[in-house]
Symmetry: C3
Subunit: 138 residues, 3 copies
């Protein structure tokens, strides 16, 4: 049994879903594990992780609009020193996930056919985001 | 230290919570681990996983109604090729979980007394759903 | 490769976020692991776990108000034997997380600078809450 870990950096340019399944799969492949557990951990409180539809850009846009509607700007938040998009970003992160674990079976991630791994950026300004990856298995 | 993995298939018949705690506990018991970490991973984007109240069917029905209300059909979604219940299904999945990990201590899952493991079906039509299980420990 | 596990008890006094990052980091430090995966599992269905902003109390209050607004009391829930705050508590728990896993790298949790680990109490009465901790690595 052994472990591997790394950090993936993802550049974002405003609110929305960024598919980084390829980066994750590539790193996992390079580690040469047959069976194990991969954990992704988002090191921020104003973006998050989501596993969703990888084939339909329209579904992605509906998801982005839904989160914008359910936790909107301009609701009179007490915490607004970092701008009007900051508190809604924390709320949208709280409603989605900061961490995902995916089993590795037969040297492949157990993702379903239509599942992609996305970073969900909630801030308006461009950011460099860090996702910590940890793999345990053999 | 060792690992075990399998896939559980769950039949659903429309939107709602399906308790499959028994199936999970049975498989875990058969692996003969004393201590470890169990991970459940839902291989779909229109159903999800939830740990919730296992004793009160009324709580389950309130949960189903809440998710139907918070991410309703008929909101003019751009993605509607697969029917009016498809996009709300993705949204409800995004608001709940696609993955759960539960520690195993003294050969038992660390679930609280009132916690059950549910598959949350969000589509109207019956489906066969796959949940990947991964156990690591000894 | 080895494992360690324990249960942390947290006293709550009504709805709100309780920062217990220090308790978690202390226990993890005592186990003397260099690399691994920490899992926290909340053994209840009416409180939950959240990783959020650790520096701004105002952000915390906005989060608490948001969850109170999105899953309010007095919505005519069918399940109300345990009081008007019980069903909203289950809903708020379903929208946040019952479990979190955090990689351990270089003997430190991979938390970002602004990330704290919180228990999110959703009931009005004081409670003693249990969070199971599991660490695997070496």
């Amino acid at each position: 049994m052994r472990q591997a870990s790394t950090t993936i950096e993802i550049g974002t340019s405003g609110p929305g879903l960024v598919d980084f399944t390829g980066d994750v799969a590539r790193w996992v492949g390079e580690q040469g594990f047959e069976t194990g557990l991969l954990t992704l951990f988002c090191r921020h409180t104003s973006c998050s992780l989501l596993i969703q539809e990888n084939a339909a850009p329209a579904a992605r846009r509906d998801l982005e609009r839904f989160f914008a509607r359910i936790a909107p700007e301009g609701e009179g938040y007490e915490h607004d020193d970092e701008g009007p998009d900051d508190m809604p970003a924390h709320l949208r992160a709280a409603l989605s996930q900061v961490q995902l674990s995916i089993p590795l079976v037969g040297a492949r991630l157990a993702l379903g056919t239509w599942q992609g791994i996305f970073l969900f950026e909630h801030r308006r300004a461009p950011h460099r985001r860090q996702v910590a990856l940890h793999l345990i298995g053999e």
